[in-house]
């Protein structure tokens, strides 16, 4: 290759890198900005999740109850048509448990983000769990009011945050007695997922909030439409080398999430 060609190749590579970088860069315009609210909620089969309520599950309609659902989300980003993004939050902890409420109806978490560039975005991207850069830390690394300072959401055994907790029980033989406890605690970098939802998101003053809902029934429905065998797979393994059950749930989060405005 001649020196001239070498220079041209270098220039083309440089321009390509610059273009690529420009396409991926954080959306940061000087235009108008506004507050933007996202409502995070939990449901089962389209109905707002209620703790200890009997839900019929699967082909056999076995009774299923939940007593806890919480999850971490990372890098919640609005995506523009040109591929640029605006990050709403680096990490959020959503606990839908009505711990201090007079009823068992799950909590709806309304979170308002400030200084969001106004515009018509093409979608929202969500990381499910705690992204690796943050998962390498532990609660002692964060200020007390930080979502990652929660001691009960970190497991030293995995050196990982517990990305999501789903706890409940089922009456597997439908005899009126709940015989199987369900304990799904998913964590470790291996099960972290990022999903993009291509739903138009309009961020302008006066626009309604964005609704992000997690349907726990769909968390247990496989890609082929069958129901997950929760009787056999009633808990997540403690061994980080065996994340098979956790992978199922974290994979199914994409289908279990609905985004509407």
């Amino acid at each position: 290759m001649s020196p001239t060609m070498q220079k041209q190749t270098f220039l083309i590579a440089f321009l390509a890198a610059a273009l690529l970088f420009s396409a991926c860069h954080e959306h940061d315009n000087d235009g108008p900005k506004t507050n933007f609210t996202v409502n995070f909620s939990a449901s089962f089969s389209g109905e707002r999740l209620t703790k200890y309520k009997d839900y019929p599950f699967g082909a056999n309609q076995i009774p299923l109850q939940f007593n806890l659902f919480s999850t971490y989300l990372s890098d919640i980003e609005l995506v523009s048509a040109d591929g640029s993004t605006h990050r709403l939050a680096e990490v959020e902890y959503l606990n839908f448990n009505p711990d201090n409420a007079p009823s068992d109806l799950s909590v709806i978490r309304d979170i308002t983000y400030t200084n969001v560039p106004e515009g018509d975005y093409t979608g929202i991207r969500i990381g499910y769990g705690v992204k690796a850069a943050l998962n390498a830390k532990n609660p002692a690394d964060f200020a007390n009011n930080h979502p990652l300072a929660l001691e009960g959401e970190y497991w030293n055994g995995w050196d990982s945050y517990i990305f999501t907790k789903v706890e409940g029980k089922t009456d597997s033989d439908k005899n009126g007695s709940y015989d199987i406890a369900l304990l799904y605690h998913c964590g470790s970098d291996a099960v972290y997922k990022v999903y993009t939802f291509n739903t138009p998101v309009h961020v302008h003053a006066g626009e309604p909030a964005l609704n992000v809902n997690f349907d726990l029934e769909k968390l247990f429905i496989m890609d082929d439409g069958s129901y997950y065998d929760i009787v056999t797979n009633f808990y997540t393994s403690n061994d980080p080398a065996d994340v098979s059950v956790a992978q199922v749930l974290m994979h199914n989060f994409e289908k279990a999430t609905s985004v509407t405005q």
Partner: protein
Amino acid sequence: MKKLVTIGILGLLFVFATQACRNNGTDPQEPGDLEHVPYDPQPYTILKPTFFPNVPVPEDNPMTYDGVQLGRRLFYDPILSADSTMSCASCHLPAGNFTDNKAVSVGIDGIAGKRSSMALLNIAYATNGLFWDGRAASLEAQALMPVEDPVEMHHHWPQLVEQLKEHPGYPALFRKAFGIKNRSEISKELAAKAIAQFERILISSGTSKYDKFAQGDVDVFDDEELDGYLMYFEEAWKYGLNLPDAQCFHCHGGITLTGNNYFNNGLDSVGSLDEFKDFGRFKVTGNPSDKGKFRTPTLRNIALSGPYMHDGRFQTLEQVIDNYARKGFGVSNEDPNLPLMGLNAPNNTLTQDHKKAIVKFLHTLTDTVFINNPDIQNPF
């Protein structure tokens, strides 16, 4: 004439002397009667192990050296009870991990309460309610309650505040702690703030056997303690060992070994939630599903904290583990971790050896440096 001059001089001396006393601010009727006492608040740095998170401190009650010292005196002073026989420390003694080692505590009138006194170790990290039912939102709010509780100190705050105002020592201490200018500014809120400041320094020393292990001294445990640790935290896979899951850390996890949450931990077999003798958390939330739920206590120093459970029904840790090994009674709001106790053990049930190892591990949580810390002992 000489006599008159002498009387006059003496009279003038008396007036001067009286005036001098007034200027020194010792007359409680005078505004600014405490201004002669220096107010020079020095920030108090809470001593904690490096691997502990920062201690949450509310913005409206910053930690000061004099605030902590005042709180310490109030904590140990029986002036807080109606007959001056009982202090906070009557039910929260350092040697008992700041419990009284009784099943239930008895107040000044000889009336027994219905719950056991809770350990105060690392109580500063409790951010989801205090007491067994979580009815106090903060240490400041909590400190107000036992004083007027008829089965505890059975005093009245207005009277107690008057006692503190008239006390020979407390007004100056309140001045040093909070900068008040007059003893009339002493209030129950300031007293509670001071007690809360003292309680925030009740932090582990980080020198327990468990802490040494967790910080990398892996040889500190014997085999049985290690087995107990691995079952407690469900980490047997790390060592290729076949040990069951004891599910402990789900509720007693994190650095303080409490999840700061409320559970029905399977103590009572009831036909319906209405049959619980003590409704616990329900009294705070009003949620029927919270009947029979109580706050998880810290397990640090648990060997020093008995008897156990909210009503002190178990005298020993062995009894506690035996109870958990029964896996609850299937009551509707029992924690789902209970039935999984002993998962992967033969018949999914903990053996006697397993239980013994767990108890032995619990003893490694003992922190004698903490309970002997001179900064937290009775100052009187």
